[in-house]
């Protein structure tokens, strides 16, 4: 909403308030002022007359002038092409402050210059606010006879002494998009008496009308039309032009200007048709038209079924609520017209305007909603102005389809309820003072007040709490005390999933990995190339781009993208992770993605480096599970036969938790990495939702053995395909309960080892929980274990 303070001051006296004071009050009352626009700026201005104008000897465009400003004659150099003897001009004297700086006495190419002759643009007037015929477009402003030499009230006389506030209006206050309602609001905010023009009922005149009005759509429940004969087209008066310009509306002629002006005043978009274009004297609103239509702007629009159209004799004559038709508009010789004031469904207008890309003032107002009586009010005001400014006197009666949807109503609120909700102690006087400022009718007793809601606030004020908001809004609220809710004690805690996320994040950051947040929306390709996808991907109806069309079903590609970005930006040895939900139709899963490249540890000073390979990933994954309290017995590791498109077929694996697939991990397939210009990347994607279902074990203190253990090593030569896990389980089988620990500590292939074979070194720790093992006992078991390994795996001891 563009609020002209000059226009506002025609309804109330605000001469004692600075712009800053007004803005400050508005902000306190819930109106943010986005921008304060001064239509013009300039001090030390005076009207002067050019009494001499000669070309500058050293320039092809400068003039050397003598300008009479009454008290003295000034030498001024001027570059404007229209500068000539006899002109009355705006002189910015030395010391004048203009938007581009201060005017100083100077010498321009040898000629003395003591001031500046101004264009309105140099005084900060926006090009769009200049009348089309203004000299200021290309030169200095030429003043007319209203101005006398020595006058200083130039900007006032030209109407550019206004300040416009760009006010942002919340969605619940569409009434404030109209000047009359905004003036009422400002009256309440500034506590001023508001005097609006008396216009209601002015349209209740006119002879019988044969005009026929119908709506075939429920999205147009109310429509008024009024035929006016014998209007005179002329220029609008200066005050109206100033107000229109201040709102950024182009002035055309009195008729078009009146329709725009009434819209600004009442909020109701009006449309005037040339009566000649409607010989049938009939308008029907319909929403079943489809096909092309050329609107007032000369552009052809594709109308679809559902769009509201104004039609006559079955042919469209305007896009309802958005833009009139080219064939029915007011022309220079229009003498009779039809006034249209209708209510169109805000949602439908919004849909049509959005689809056609036609964001007109009218569409914006319909979209935000109108006050229920605005059609009648607008026709009243239009009739009043047509009489005043277009010599209209021959009216037909107003034709009406439907009726306004408004019944007067009251809201009752009590002081007790008000104070209990707010936590303050308002008195009845304070509460009713707000109602008085709002110009609401009310009655009250000791405890309660009863408020009649005017039509223009009826969409917003429905319940007692709405009235409370008005009171809070319009009284000083900075003195509200701070308290905390008095209520039964509650215990705040994190859910198991929320705790799990914290444990995982802590573990992974301690390994040097970075927590990331990536975009949820991805391209079609990322959906096709998902890891462990479930169900059909969720697709947006109207995405911003194809790259963000789907809700991701796995995290891998986002992390690959982030990794690739980092490697391209001078980072190396990058390990990232993300915890996020992924979605498919009716499926939600929480996942963890880990991506590693280069070395996880790479410390040059200490000469330590640990490359981020399958085993590092495996170790970290199992560490997470153990930190979360899941015993290794519940976790199974399997060969990856699920996905060898994204994963290296021989360096990847699948983890299951209680026989449910939990995680896929390993090296990524070089073919897949090529698209990201990456190589040697390890990745894991874990479905955390699986863990949410599984119950972790209770923490139990370990029982320490009282007897010593004995450690033995074995080195075996065997076929390279034999798995470590099989060796270890065989050891446990052969050694029984006395095997406390068994692990592989070295695997060697290469020199001195035949192709297809490997050397495996194992460490076995024996312990008896009940007694100290004798050497002979250990020897016996160890022998048994060794023989078993040799025969079972066809191995040779080294």
């Amino acid at each position: 909403m563009k609020l002209s303070l000059k226009w506002l001051s025609s309804f109330m006296d605000i001469s004692d308030l600075s712009v800053e004071q007004i803005v400050d009050q508005m902000v306190k009352c819930g109106f943010e002022v986005e921008e304060i626009i001064r239509l013009s700026q300039g001090s030390n201005l005076i009207v002067g007359k050019v009494i001499e104008c000669q070309n500058h000897p050293d320039s092809d465009h400068l003039h050397v002038t003598k300008v009479d400003i009454g008290s003295q004659v000034l030498d001024i150099v001027c570059g404007a092409p229209n500068c000539r003897e006899g002109l009355k001009v705006i002189v910015a004297q030395v010391g004048a402050k203009l938007p581009d700086g201060e005017i100083k006495a100077s010498t321009i190419r040898g000629a003395e210059s003591n001031g500046m002759l101004c264009s309105l643009k140099e005084l900060g007037v926006d090009e769009n606010l200049l009348p089309a015929d203004s000299c200021s477009h290309n030169g200095i402003e030429e003043l007319d006879d209203r101005f006398e030499i020595g006058d200083t009230d130039i900007l006032e006389k030209l109407g550019y002494d206004d300040t416009i506030l760009d006010v942002s209006v919340y969605a619940n206050r569409p009434d404030c998009l109209s000047m009359f309602a905004m003036a009422k609001e400002m009256g309440a905010i500034l506590n001023r008496k508001v005097a609006l023009p008396e216009y209601e009922g002015k349209s209740e005149i006119g002879k019988k009308s044969a005009f026929k009005l119908t709506s075939l759509s429920e999205n147009c429940p109310h429509f008024l039309a009024k035929v006016v004969h014998h209007v005179t087209i002329k220029e609008s008066p200066e005050w109206m032009k100033q107000h229109l310009r201040a709102n950024g509306v182009k002035c055309i002629n009195n008729l078009v200007d009146i329709s725009n002006y009434v819209m600004l005043e009442t909020g109701q978009p009006l449309h005037f048709y040339d009566l000649r274009s409607n010989p049938a004297m009939e308008i029907t609103v319909r929403d079943d038209y489809s096909g092309p239509y050329v609107a007032l702007d000369g552009i052809e629009y594709q109308i679809e079924k559902g769009d509201l159209m104004i039609t006559s004799e079955g042919k469209p004559i305007g896009i309802a609520g958005i833009m009139g038709g080219d064939n029915t508009k007011i022309l220079d010789d229009t003498s009779s017209l039809i006034i249209e004031a209708a209510l169109f469904d805000h949602a439908q207008i919004r849909r049509t305007a959005n689809r056609l890309g036609l964001q007109t003032e009218a569409a914006a107002r319909f979209s935000k909603g109108l006050e229920p009586l605005s059609q009648n009010k607008a026709v009243d005001r239009a009739v009043q102005l047509l009489i005043e400014l277009a010599d209209a006197e021959d009216f037909e009666e107003t034709v009406e389809y439907g009726k306004p949807d408004y019944e007067p109503y009251q809201i009752k609120e009590t002081l007790n309820h008000l104070n209990a909700l707010i936590g303050k102690a308002y008195t009845m006087e304070e509460a009713t003072d707000v109602l008085r400022r709002l110009d609401f009718r009310y009655t009250n007793d000791q405890e309660a007040f009863y408020v009649e809601i005017p039509s223009y606030r009826s969409t917003d004020l429905r319940i007692p709490e709405d009235i409370d908001e008005e009171i809070v809004r319009l009284t000083d609220f900075d003195d509200l005390v701070s308290t905390l809710p008095l209520m039964p004690q509650t215990v705040g805690r994190l859910s198991s999933m929320q705790k799990m996320r914290r444990v995982i994040r802590e573990t992974l950051t301690n390994h040097g990995m970075f927590d990331t947040v990536n975009y949820t929306l991805v391209s079609d390709r990322y959906i096709k190339e998902a890891v462990l996808p479930k169900g059909d991907a969720v697709e947006l109806v109207s995405p911003l781009s194809d790259a963000r069309r789907y809700v991701r079903t796995s995290l891998m590609n986002s992390l690959l993208e982030a990794l690739s970005y980092n490697l391209a930006h001078y980072n190396e040895n990058v390990s990232l992770f993300e915890i996020s939900k992924v979605y498919a139709r009716d499926i939600e899963e929480e996942r963890l993605g880990i991506i590693m490249q280069g070395n996880l540890i790479d410390n040059k000073i200490k000469h330590i480096s640990v490359s981020s390979d399958f085993y590092v990933m495996k170790g970290i994954l199992l560490q997470i599970l153990s930190k979360l309290g899941f015993e290794m017995g519940r976790i199974t590791l399997m060969e990856n036969d699920l996905d060898t498109i994204h994963f290296h077929p021989y360096q990847s694996a699948v983890l299951c938790m209680d026989n449910e697939i939990l995680c896929i991990f390993g090296k990524l397939h070089p073919n897949y990495l090529r698209a990201f210009k990456l190589n040697d990347v390890c990745y894991a994607e874990m479905i955390l939702s699986v863990l949410e279902q599984a119950k972790p074990a209770k923490v139990k203190a370990p029982v320490l053995s009282r007897y010593p253990s004995v450690s033995r090593d074995i080195s075996l030569l065997m076929n390279e395909d034999i798995k470590a896990a099989d060796l270890l389980s065989e050891i446990r089988k052969a050694g029984g309960r006395l095997v406390k620990k068994a692990e592989v500590f070295d695997v060697y292939q290469g020199e001195h080892i035949e192709d297809g074979y490997k050397s495996v070194s194992l460490n076995i720790v024996y312990e008896d929980k009940e007694k100290t093992l004798k050497t002979e006992e250990v020897n016996e078991i160890h022998e048994r274990v060794l023989n078993d390994l040799l025969s079972h795996f066809n191995a040779v001891q080294r």
Binding site: A171, G423, R505, L521, L544, D602
Partner: protein, 341 residues
């Protein structure tokens, strides 16, 4: 007698000039059983029986003096040796220390964690909900029926006519209200990702995070809301921060307030960050609209409550001085590394 004094001087002189090796030789020379001092005992024979003990005592004293001098000298030489070794071990302390590699939590995670901790401390639970939502919870239950202008305010990503990517974490609140209607009071915060049809630029992101809070009980007031938010702001920004309420509009609260905090950069004096006002807009809030309570099956005559919602990105940007929201979604580790705490 003279011999004793001479021998003492000779020994002490030799000790004082000795190095580690010759010191051991001196110890043998003077103190061993066949050493010079023991050798004095041979003179005992020539002494009278009165003089014998006295002489013996003197020889013994001399032995002790020499032995002590040798020990002292040895300790001194050892220390010199040690000092020389230590000196040879001198290192450049300005070389880099060994820092075990550590990653960082994402700034959005950090802020969310901080919010969770503040509110858990006040007895709140942390509620979540689906990001692919129904229009019922995202809009209708939040007092934003079909055709309501507020649905226009939030240009939403629809999936089908009734499903969408949630545009506000209010959707979580609406689920909590429904689930807990029979189990009042309610004290929750609802952090999560939300989505809007905005083109990404320095201050807009089609994806961002919110954290909303909801308290429902008996006799909950706007003053309670103010106290709660003041506490939150003080925990997150500075101990002496103040807040102020400005009237605002949200469909699901009545009355509604924008909340400003005193600028954490200038403390309220006015600076470029707060555009000279001393205040910074930090979140939206209000008293839960009676329609919202009723739709969830809660008696709005008996119960009231407040709700508030803040942008996690906004808090992070203010707190850490981030000027471009896209930095939070690029995941450049040079940026992430800055969030060590």
């Amino acid at each position: 007698m003279l011999d004793l004094e001479l021998l003492k001087n000779e020994a002490l002189k030799a000790i004082s000039e000795a190095d580690t090796r010759s010191l051991e030789e001196l110890r043998i020379e003077y103190l061993s059983k066949k050493g010079k001092i023991q050798g004095l005992m041979a003179q005992m024979r020539d002494l009278s029986s009165e003089e014998k003990p006295k002489f013996g005592q003197m020889v013994n004293d001399l032995k002790n003096v020499v032995s002590a001098a040798i020990d002292e000298k040895k300790e001194k030489l050892d220390q010199e040796l040690l000092n020389a070794r230590l000196k040879s071990e001198k290192i450049d302390i300005s070389l880099d220390g060994y820092v075990p590699k550590n990653g960082t939590l994402h700034p959005l995670t950090l802020v969310q964690k901080e919010l969770e901790d503040v509110f858990i401390g006040m007895g709140y639970n942390v509620a979540e909900g689906p990001e692919v939502e129904t229009d019922l919870y995202n809009f209708t239950r939040a007092n934003t029926p079909e055709g309501h202008p507020a649905r226009d305010m939030q240009d939403t990503f629809y999936v089908d006519p009734t499903h969408l990517l949630r545009s506000q974490t209010t959707a979580i609140q609406m689920r909590v209200l429904e689930q807990e209607a029979g189990n009042l009071p309610i004290k929750v915060i609802c952090p999560g990702k939300v989505y809007r049809r905005d083109d990404d630029d320095a201050t807009h992101s089609h994806q961002f995070m919110q954290c909303e809070g909801l308290v429902i009980g008996e006799n909950i007031t706007v003053a309670d809301l103010k106290g709660t938010l003041e506490l939150m702001i003080r925990e997150l920004f500075s101990k002496d921060a103040k807040i102020r309420f400005r009237p605002s509009y949200f469909p699901f609260t009545e009355p509604s307030f924008e909340v400003d905090m005193t600028c954490h950069i200038c403390g309220g004096k006015g600076c470029p960050t707060c555009k000279g006002t001393g205040w910074i807009e930090i979140l939206g809030s209000g008293m839960v609209h009676p329609n919202v309570l009723e739709m969830a099956g809660i008696d709005s005559k008996k119960y009231t409550g407040f709700a508030f919602g803040a942008g996690i990105e906004r808090i992070a940007m203010l707190k850490y001085g981030i000027t471009d929201i896209r930095d939070l979604y690029t995941n450049d580790i040079r940026f992430l590394e800055g969030f060590r705490r």
